[in-house]
């Protein structure tokens, strides 16, 4: 089938070369500076004919809709500016009134996935039919809302858009309803006709206003459209209503009383299939044959000859195709014609026989004047029980994957789709769900629904989810938390780490050290915790005091996340102990920080300098052992330093080292004496 190429409006490939880049949900197209040599107009983005990817052309012609935004930039040298186009594929998800459809159907979808598979036979079928009905009621609710919106808006463009949407939704419901009858419920001969009658009555509503008008007039039988309405009722098999109207005519027109009585009787006696098991098909066929012959007799006897309206009704009852076809405008569609034909010529039609009647009905109805529209082709495919064809046609025609994804999923649950492996591995149901969910992910809020859809795609769902979830813009912490929770529930550790790192970096840049730490704890990211601690220590060295004491004082067990963090906590504790004048404990802590190698080497000098006031106290705090340890640390520090120049040139450093050595020596002297004496030991 020839598919017209879809060109991004405004981007003229004949003037400039265009380049493009794929994104997860969008395509970026930009103009380059390279002019096009030669005059050939080449296609920029051409539609691939396979149903597998991309730019859906909705019934209204989607090219204009696909363009969502362009960024104007300045080209170099040339006076015209070059632009970048953002081409997005799924416009429908941004329609406000359709959000209810997406949300509610998500709930139904989840319910279906979770429903018990153990139910077999009739109860399972009933359950699936109920699911199908739920989907349809959601479509109808959406249609209602859309209709309300169309009526209440004053913007004609918007009104046009809403009206288009209403007709699309209506077509979707029509197709779904037929699929429900033929595939999900799989109505057999007998009930099949009743269901089809209901279907036609529900969906062919062009005549409703006429019916209302006639019924509400004072004397309906005098209304000029009276017989039209009677015909409508007969065509739709609404015998009781037809008889009721006819009785009005009979009472107004006593001369035709006799004819009326016969017709009324025929209509009353007409055998119809019943839903219960009150009669078998053969019984019905026999009765029907008998009735048919009776009608035939009355017609041939010329009973209705004087009243052409009644005669035509009798002919319709006999299933005369020409008579039925005369009422084309009242039926408006070929499928109405089909069902009427079946009602009056083959009421016990079997499902597999439908295809023949459908094809001939369409041919007779359209009569070569008009060609079938896409909707007609889809319905025909359904009557032919070609499920895959239905899905394929719908995919091409509709601008959004919603319909085909959910319908295919339902049919799959009915075990009707063979595992029809497509050439890139996943089956049709999964493919459609993946496409639908991917479309959802480009929406800033509906992506949450997409997650559940990916969960139920066994082969590629997880991979798709992993790729998409990292690209959700995290505008607030709450959104990040939701994304994280989704990742954690599915053990997507890589993504957890990456998201926490992003949030922690953001926090760090905004100087929210507590938030940054909180994110590192969530990801158990020791490296980042070390980074944060270094930041704190740097602040301390620069300012001489700690910032964010409420955080450092209350680290709790999270202190153990990284060595540096532990050091920070303990160092702060040292300061606290010193402040509380608990010197021996402070001293022990300080020493352990160095000897246990928790402290980074760069900090040792600071720690030793902190030890100075303790060494200078009147009371001897450090024991001999501890003093030796301190001395060893100092020697390690000064000896281990390859660049001795630093210590020698820097006066401050040298003074510090000298003071330390002096203090340590003095302390050692005092403590040896103290420990040597009787009281000291």
């Amino acid at each position: 089938d020839t598919v017209p190429p879809q060109v991004v409006p405004g981007a003229d490939p004949s003037a400039r070369q265009l380049c493009f880049a794929w994104g997860p949900a969008e395509v970026l197209v930009c103009e380059t500076l390279f002019g096009r040599a030669g005059g050939s107009r080449s296609r920029c983005l051409s539609r691939s004919p396979s149903p597998s990817r991309f730019w859906r052309e909705g019934r209204a012609g989607a090219a204009a809709r696909a363009l969502t935004g362009s960024v104007a930039g300045t080209g170099e040298g040339t006076p015209s500016s070059s632009r970048v186009f953002v081409v997005r594929r799924d416009q429908d998800i941004y329609i406000q009134t359709l959000r209810k459809l997406f949300n509610e159907s998500h709930g139904i979808f989840m319910g279906l996935q979770r429903s018990e598979e153990e139910l077999a036979g009739k109860s399972r079928k009933a359950q699936l039919v109920q699911v199908s009905k739920n989907y349809r009621s959601v479509i109808r609710a959406c249609m209602e809302d859309m209709h309300q919106a169309a009526v209440s808006t004053r913007d004609p463009a918007l009104q046009g858009q809403y009206s288009t949407q209403v007709s699309i939704l209506s077509a979707m419901e029509l197709i779904w309803n037929l699929c429900e009858i033929l595939f999900v419920e799989a109505a057999g001969a007998g009930p099949l006709l009743l269901r089809l009658l209901d279907w036609v009555r529900l969906h062919v509503c062009d005549v409703d206003s006429m019916v209302r008008e006639v019924l509400s007039s004072e004397s309906p039988s005098k209304h000029k459209l009276f017989w039209n309405v009677v015909d409508v009722f007969v065509l739709q098999g609404r015998m009781d209503e037809a008889r009721h109207l006819l009785s009005k005519e009979a009472s107004a027109n006593p001369t035709s009383m006799n004819m009326y009585k016969i017709l009324d009787d025929l209509m009353k006696k007409m055998p119809v299939p019943s839903l219960g098991n009150t009669q078998t098909l053969t019984e019905l066929e026999l009765k029907w044959q008998h009735w048919h012959e009776e009608c035939q007799r009355y017609l041939q006897d010329g009973t209705f000859a004087s009243n052409p309206h009644m005669e035509s009704i009798c002919k319709i009852l006999l299933g005369d195709e020409d008579a039925i076809l005369e009422k084309k405008e009242l039926m408006t569609t070929w499928y109405h014609f089909l069902v009427t034909r079946l009602l009056y010529s083959h009421p016990t039609v079997k499902p597999l026989e439908l295809r023949f009647y459908a094809q001939s009905s369409m041919d007779l109805f359209l009569g070569g004047e008009s060609s079938p529209e896409p909707l007609d082709m889809i319905l025909m495919a359904a009557f032919e029980f070609e499920m895959h064809q239905v899905i394929k046609e719908c995919s091409i025609v509709l601008s959004n994957w919603w319909f085909v994804a959910h319908l295919t999923d339902l049919l799959d649950h009915c075990k009707l789709l063979q595992s029809h492996n497509l050439y890139f591995g996943s089956n049709m149901r999964e493919f459609l769900l993946l496409e639908y969910a991917s479309g959802l992910f480009s929406h800033h809020s509906l992506w949450q629904l997409g997650v559940d859809y990916f969960d139920h795609c066994p082969e590629y769902g997880r991979v798709y989810l992993e790729l998409h979830i990292e690209r959700i813009p995290l505008s607030t912490e709450q959104k990040a938390l939701k994304v994280l929770r989704i990742c954690e529930q599915r053990q997507m550790h890589e993504q957890v780490r990456s998201i926490c790192k992003i949030m922690a970096m953001k926090a760090l840049r905004n100087n929210r050290l507590g938030s940054a730490l909180s994110w590192s704890i969530r990801a158990k990211d020791a490296a980042f915790a070390t980074l944060i601690s270094d930041r704190f220590l740097k602040d301390y060295c620069e300012r001489g005091c700690f910032s964010d004491l409420d955080l450092i004082d209350n680290l709790g067990p999270s202190m153990l996340l990284s060595d540096r963090l532990t050091f920070l906590g303990k160092y702060r504790e040292f300061h606290r102990l010193y402040g509380e004048k608990r010197f021996p404990e402070a001293a022990r802590l300080l020493l352990s920080l160095m000897t246990a190698h928790i402290a980074p080497c760069s900090f040792w000098m600071t720690l030793l300098t902190d030890a100075l006031p303790l060494l200078e106290q009147k009371e001897v705090i450090f024991s001999a052992e501890q003093t030796y340890e301190l001395m060893r640390c100092l020697e390690d520090l000064t000896a281990g330093n390859p660049d001795k120049q630093k210590f020698q040139d820097d006066d401050v450093e040298r003074t510090k080292v000298e003071m330390l050595r002096l203090a340590l020596a003095r302390n050692l002297a005092r403590v040896i004496v103290k420990e040597g004496t009787v009281e000291g030991s």
Binding site: T476, E477, Q478, L481, N510, G514, S518, L551, G556
Partner: protein, 334 residues
């Protein structure tokens, strides 16, 4: 495309014969809102204060005569980050609480703002009140507020004092799990409930100790909101990211009907049985399981997506989910 909407949930006086309410909530009016709505509260009968993810705090007025909403007053950049270059510099305002005419807001920037409804500028701002994100705020007394943050701390701030330090800090023992919501008992002001990121409900007695009195393992994911019932505080409600909404009932005058005869469709769990014996000390603080019983009910039969927010008044409970649906339950105690 975020909007603030006012809905009519219907007259309670229109209840049918058996108390059933007929009719759906319908939309009265709405107005566009810039950014996500992080929190909101009624200031008085007509005005609503809304906290935005852009860092703006807005007062909307609901004109009941012609059913419209209008923006009455706006404090732009009430919350912002130091580095103005990143993400437009705005920091989300995460919580708002009102005590007419005072309004207190907290945000991701760790800042606390005190506004008055009629004044253009903030009355008081405590910069860097917290080094982490402040998730929620509520009034303890008229001059004191409670905040919870993302390193698991509950802080009391006394607004009379000019220093920018909390007057008291409480924290959970063990892991510093972020706290997301806080509410105070309506009558007994020393009882405070908080909800954490791990779904744990903590009850605190702020007169004593720095650690919670009881920790109740509740939800499987973040607890977004916790509310004591304003007129019947033996009842507590919590909602969570895991899609459930729990009703915690410590009232001891439950009828003698055994649990399986209660209205169907809800899963109930008893913590323990007891004689009907009303103790003077609030049931929330008592940790003697033999004396009190707590009934916990999940009010949502088919949970799917997160329940983000709830509110309760009289016999009415309203909650909203991530499936873009609002539910109204008008017969909470039936």
């Amino acid at each position: 495309d975020n909007r603030i909407s006012i809905w009519s949930a219907g007259d309670l006086g229109n209840a049918g014969l058996n108390g059933e309410y007929h009719g759906e909530p319908h939309l009265l009016c709405d107005i566009q809102h810039n950014g996500d709505v992080m929190d909101m509260q009624f200031l008085d009968q007509e005005r609503i204060v809304v906290a935005s993810s852009t860092g703006t705090v807005t007062i909307f007025r609901h004109h009941q005569n012609n059913q419209t909403l209008s923006a009455n007053h706006r404090w732009e950049k009430a919350h912002y980050h130091v580095d103005q270059d990143t993400s437009c510099g705005g920091a989300a305002c995460t919580g708002v609480v009102c005590n007419n005419p005072e309004i207190v807001t907290v945000g991701e920037d760790g800042r606390i703002n005190l506004f008055r409804a009629d004044q253009k500028d903030a009355v008081r701002t405590i910069d860097n009140a917290d080094s982490s994100t402040l998730h929620a705020v509520t009034f303890l007394r008229t001059t004191e507020i409670l905040t919870v943050n993302s390193i698991g701390q509950l802080k009391i701030w006394d607004l009379r004092h000019q220093r920018n330090e909390p007057s008291q800090i409480f924290s959970l023992a063990g892991d510093r799990v972020p706290l997301h919501c806080v509410d105070r008992h309506p009558n007994q002001q020393h009882i405070v409930a908080t909800g954490g990121q791990d779904g744990m409900l903590s009850i605190w007695d702020i007169r004593q100790g720095t650690m919670p009195v009881s920790l109740l393992n509740a939800h499987e994911a973040e607890m977004w909101e916790v509310h004591f019932h304003p007129s019947d505080p033996d009842h507590l409600f919590t909602c969570s990211e895991d899609g459930s909404l729990w009703h915690w009932d410590t009232s001891t005058n439950i009828s003698e009907k055994p649990s399986f005869l209660h209205q169907g469709g809800r899963s109930t769990a008893y913590l323990s049985h007891s004689t009907i014996n009303q103790s003077v000390v609030s049931a929330w603080l008592s940790n003697d399981p033999t004396k009190d019983r707590m009934e916990i009910t999940n009010l949502i039969p088919n949970q799917t997506l997160s329940v983000n927010s709830l509110d309760v008044l009289g016999p009415c409970l309203v909650y909203g989910t991530d499936a873009e649906a609002i539910y109204v339950n008008r017969q909470l105690f039936a």
